[in-house]
Subunit: 361 residues, 2 copies
């Protein structure tokens, strides 16, 4: 399906369809409109018939469930959560300037968006199925068909049961008050607030309760974090850091990199996201490489699961200038300064200080 037609998104890959908005479009509203929400797919978008659709909940449960879309809407209270999803590969493009990362999507800093999701709480569905004591993970599989290692399978991943039982994890069938768009997982997707986007599996076909994390390629192999010196040939996949919660991140959306600015004070605007259930507590902007900082003001609410828009007014001397940003979370963690120190050959979790270069007239 030609999802790259009539889109205002920057298309990073046509098939599978991968696209993100421009920084300027992204920063227009704290709730991203559906048509501007970044798209990260690993296979062709499946066309799912809403009437024929069935969601299987099985594994270590008292009673396996086979749910229609109508069952999900009718049998469980409708829950609403505002949540930011972010691809683990967001800001990979800046990593690629340090060293090439073959075979991965070259995301700018806009593989992130925020929406109001509505659906059944996963918790309520799991309670109805009756989860066994020994269960430690809820594993999702989608209806899409990925091809890897000569096999075809649905994209999948898992989350710890502790997270799955929190009310904020949804089996979402609405996005910003509309039925889930096809590219975003129609008719039902998982939405796992605070986690990397890959765990919010789209076109959800099955939820299996089990003792171990998912053995799906995208949990057991991809989405793992390695130290900077490791390459594909030397990677010990078994012992690498398995990604889960998002890391703390902050990005400058305006002015954009390379902009020439008029004389006068500059309004710097961007987003910050805390990850997990933490909140963004402070955002600092610097024009001297971190020697001194201006504390930003807030342009949106401070809530769990959602990014926070910020703005700072700065006086910039004439000439070529660099603006940098860093955020602080509610545990007083801040971001690493130098992307080279956290570079990894898969290009995940770039949360080094974001920098834009501008010319001040």
């Amino acid at each position: 399906m030609p999802f790259d037609k009539h889109t205002r998104l920057i298309v990073r890959e046509r098939e599978p369809f991968n696209a993100e908005p421009s920084p300027d479009l992204l920063r227009q509203a704290p709730i991203t409109p559906n048509e501007l929400f970044f798209v990260r797919n690993h296979a062709a978008v499946p066309v799912v018939d809403a009437v024929a659709y069935r969601l299987l909940v099985d594994g270590m449960v008292d009673k396996s469930l086979t749910l229609t879309l109508e069952d999900i809407k009718r049998d469980f209270p409708k829950r609403t959560v505002t949540a930011t999803l972010q691809c683990a590969g967001n800001r990979r493009e800046d990593f690629m300037k340090i060293e090439e990362i073959p075979g991965e999507v070259a995301w700018g800093a806009e593989a992130i968006s925020n929406a109001v999701w509505a659906g059944a709480a996963l918790r309520d569905v799991l309670v109805a199925a009756g989860v066994h004591v020994k269960v430690a993970h809820a594993a999702f599989v989608g209806l899409d068909e990925v091809e890897k290692r000569n096999e075809r399978f649905g994209f999948g991943g898992s989350i710890p049961l502790e997270k799955a039982l929190n009310g904020e994890v949804l089996l979402a069938y609405e996005m910003n008050g509309e039925p889930l768009p096809m590219v975003h997982g129609f008719p039902v997707r998982a939405v796992v607030p605070g986690y990397i986007g890959a765990r919010s599996v789209k076109w959800l076909e099955r939820i299996k309760l089990q003792t171990e994390p998912s053995d799906n390629y995208y949990q057991a192999h991809a989405y793992k974090l390695f130290p900077p010196h490791v390459r594909a040939e030397t990677a010990d996949w078994e012992n690498a850091l398995m990604l889960g919660e998002q890391s703390l991140n902050a990005v400058i959306c305006r002015p954009v990199d390379g902009a020439t600015l008029e004389k006068g004070a500059v309004i710097v605007q961007g987003y910050a996201v805390a990850g997990g259930n933490r909140r963004v507590e402070r955002v600092d902007v610097s024009i001297d490489g971190g020697e001194t900082w201006t504390v930003a003001d807030w342009e949106s609410e401070n809530q769990s699961w959602a990014w926070r828009f910020w703005q700072a007014r700065i006086e910039l001397p004439p000439g070529a200038q660099q603006i940098v940003v860093r955020a602080w979370d509610s545990a007083a963690n801040t971001q690493p300064e130098d992307a080279r120190r956290i570079w990894n050959f898969k290009g995940y979790m770039n949360n080094a200080w974001h920098k834009v270069n501008v010319i001040q007239k």
Copy 2:
């Protein structure tokens, strides 16, 4: 009381008594023996009679409780939690090398320890009292007497109700299987795993349920985080970051700073702590300022609330060398590199890469 007699701790202040173990002693066992556990007090240690002791639970509750030590032991199940406490001022000494921080304790990197705590779950006590819907914070006050601004009051602080209702927050009366020592809060203290030590109020006199955070000096004023350029005279206390969860941290305990090392491979050992309910997922050690890293091995379990001991074997060239360490938490956050970038005039939350300088023979 002369708490500095017969101690193996390094005494940073005699009255109030503030002391920490040496790095080498701290690293001897993952469970710190009571006599080696760091001590952070803000006033003289109160002498509390265990029979006369009463804990008041009041504020927005259905029924105020006045509990004796025996009530707490008898009426609520005994819960055990292994938890690391860390002073928000841990590693302040390294901040002081950048610029002086007058009026604060010069902590090394050992204002942190780990113990097995036992007591009533705060949750169970709050359920017994019946917490009102509008409550947002549980505020603790101790029996010690701080003098500040010509007033005398008990040291205090608060935690969000959401945290207070988690099973891991204890009203502890035992530390490593023994009654709580006097300097550690006999007969009862709060233990708030994952939070800065200041919230684990000792010699607990009162727990008040309320809509706002505590207005005690140590919540409303002290223990706030400022950007590097702010000084006491320019501080906007109202709008500063109020500390809560601990930040991610890692420290090299062996070899100690300034050591001369024998020829051969060096075993580097230390601790790492994730903060909040996160876990430490990786520790990296570098001998070239972060250009390349050695991933450390684990010397203790990976559990919520407790630090993790790690060890790395490295080959060090002859001459003056610097060893640095950084940790990664379960949300793929790592630590900032440069202490100057996070320096603050109160000297809190130094979690820059820890560095030790050694001479290799």
